[in-house]
Amino acid sequence: MKVRLFIVLLFIAVPAVSLGAETVTVITKENAIRESCRFFAPVKATVHYGDALEVVSQEGDWFQVNFRGVPGCIHKSAVSKESFSLSKLHLTGSPKQSASGQEVALAGKGFNPQVEAAYRNQNPQLKFGEVNAIEGYKVSEIRLREFIRSGKLNPP
C-alpha cells in the first residue's frame, strides 16, 4: 500500500515541479552568481552571455537561480526571460538552421563583432584602442565597497 501511495505521489509531484521550472538567460558579457541576493555578496560562480539559469524564486530585484548545480543569486537586469541557443546560429558556409525571431534579437541580430570589425577597418581614425582601455579599467569590488563605506553612502 505504501509503495503504491509513493508511486502515486511521485507521478503527481514530478509534473508539478517541472511546471514551475523556469529558465532565464544571461544577457551580459559576464556576470556573477552570488551567495546572497545583494551586490558585493561573495561570488559563487561566473556566468557568461547566453548561459541558461534555472530560476528557483524571485526576491525583489534578484533571481535565486541554479547554475550547473550551483545555487545563488543574480540581479534581474543581467538576465532575460527569453531563451536562445548560440549553437543554433549558423556560421557562413555551414548548413543554415533556423532560429526564432526572439533568438535573433537576443543573439545580436545585426550589430555584432564582425560588423564592428568591418566598421573599424573603414574608419581607422576612430579611437577604438582608447575605448578598449576605458572598458578594461574597473574599480575592484573591494575598493568600491570601501569607497561607499568611507563616504557614508548607502550600500546597493
Binding site: S77, Q114, V115, V139
Partner: protein, 280 residues
C-alpha cells in the same frame, strides 16, 4: 486495480507535461510582444555605444589621470548601482575628456564621458554624482539608441529576416556596416551636436534625483550645480546649453521634484574632502 491505476497515472503525467509546453508558448508570445518595443538588443546597443565612444574620442582627447579616473569611476559606479538598470551588457565605465567645455556624454550601453571643465565646475562629490547620475539615467532610459532612425533598424531587420548569424556574407556585411555607421552617426549627432529632447532631459533629471537619494548623496546637489551654471553665465552659448534645454527651466523642475532628505553634514564633509584631494 494496478492495471487501471498505472496507465491512468502515466496519461496524467504526459498530459500535464504537455500543458507545460502550451504555457511556455503563451509566455513566449507575451515576451515577443514586449521586446518588439526595444529597438536593439543589449549586445547591439553595446556595439553602437563603443563606436559612438570611439567617435567622441576622435573629437575630444582623453585625459589620462589614473587616480582621478578611479575616483570618477567610484562615484559613477556607486550611482549606477542604485539606478534602475545597475547591470548592462558591458558594464558602466567612466572616463574624463581633456576639454574645458562644461559637458558630459553617455554612450549607449554604459560608457560615460565627463569633461575636465565639468569636474572643475562642480564643488563637491555630491555635485559630481549629480552630473553622473543624469548621464546614467540617459543609459537607463536608452535615450541614445532612441535617436537611431527607424528606417535603419527596419533595413537591418529586413536584411537578416529570421536568420541569425554570427558571421555574415560580404554582401550582407556591407549593408549591415552601412546601417551601423548610420546608427552611430544618428546617436553621435544627438548626444554631441543637437542634444536630447526636452522631455528626455527632464526625465533624466527626475531619475537622477532618485538615484542620488537612494545612494545617500544629497539630491539638492543637482539644483546647486545648475544654479551655479546660470549665475556664472555658463548656461548660454555652447557647452551644456548646446546639448540641454534651457537651464532655468530645468532648475524649476528639479526644485519641485527634489525629495526632501536629511543630509548628514559630517558625511558630506568627508566626501567633499576626498573630492578636493582627488581633483587637486
Amino acid at each position: 486495480m494496478n492495471r487501471i491505476l498505472y496507465p491512468i497515472l502515466i496519461l496524467v503525467f504526459f498530459a500535464v507535461s504537455c500543458s507545460q509546453i502550451d504555457i511556455g508558448s503563451i509566455g513566449q508570445v507575451a515576451q515577443e510582444t514586449f521586446s518588439a518595443a526595444k529597438p536593439l538588443s543589449d549586445e547591439e546597443e553595446y556595439y553602437v555605444g563603443r563606436a559612438v565612444a570611439a567617435q567622441i574620442l576622435s573629437t575630444y582627447p582623453l585625459l589620462e589621470n589614473r587616480s582621478l579616473t578611479e575616483y570618477v569611476n567610484s562615484v559613477g559606479e556607486t550611482v549606477a548601482l542604485h539606478s534602475d538598470r545597475p547591470v548592462t551588457y558591458g558594464g558602466y565605465h567612466f572616463a574624463i575628456l581633456n576639454s574645458s567645455e562644461i559637458n558630459a556624454f553617455s554612450c549607449p550601453g554604459g560608457i560615460i564621458f565627463i569633461t575636465r571643465g565639468t569636474i572643475n565646475a562642480v564643488r563637491n562629490e555630491d555635485e559630481l554624482a549629480a552630473v553622473l547620475a543624469h548621464e546614467v539615467a540617459h543609459i537607463n532610459h536608452r535615450d541614445g539608441v532612441s535617436a537611431i532612425q527607424k528606417a535603419r533598424l527596419t533595413q537591418v531587420a529586413t536584411l537578416i529576416g529570421s536568420q541569425a548569424a554570427q558571421r555574415y556574407t560580404p554582401a550582407q556585411l556591407s549593408q549591415l556596416v552601412s546601417a551601423f555607421e548610420g546608427s552611430v552617426d544618428d546617436v553621435f549627432k544627438t548626444i554631441v551636436v543637437n542634444g536630447y529632447g526636452r522631455s528626455q532631459e527632464y526625465h533624466a533629471d527626475e531619475s537622477a534625483l532618485s538615484y542620488l537619494s537612494r545612494a545617500g548623496y544629497d539630491p539638492s546637489a543637482l539644483e546647486d550645480f545648475l544654479e551655479r551654471l546660470v549665475s556664472q553665465g555658463q548656461s548660454s552659448g555652447g557647452g551644456i546649453m548646446k546639448t540641454h534645454p534651457a537651464t532655468a527651466d530645468r532648475i524649476e523642475r528639479v526644485k519641485r521634484e527634489t525629495p526632501s532628505v536629511k543630509v548628514d553634514a559630517s558625511a558630506f564633509k568627508i566626501r567633499t574632502r576626498r573630492f578636493q584631494e582627488a581633483v587637486r
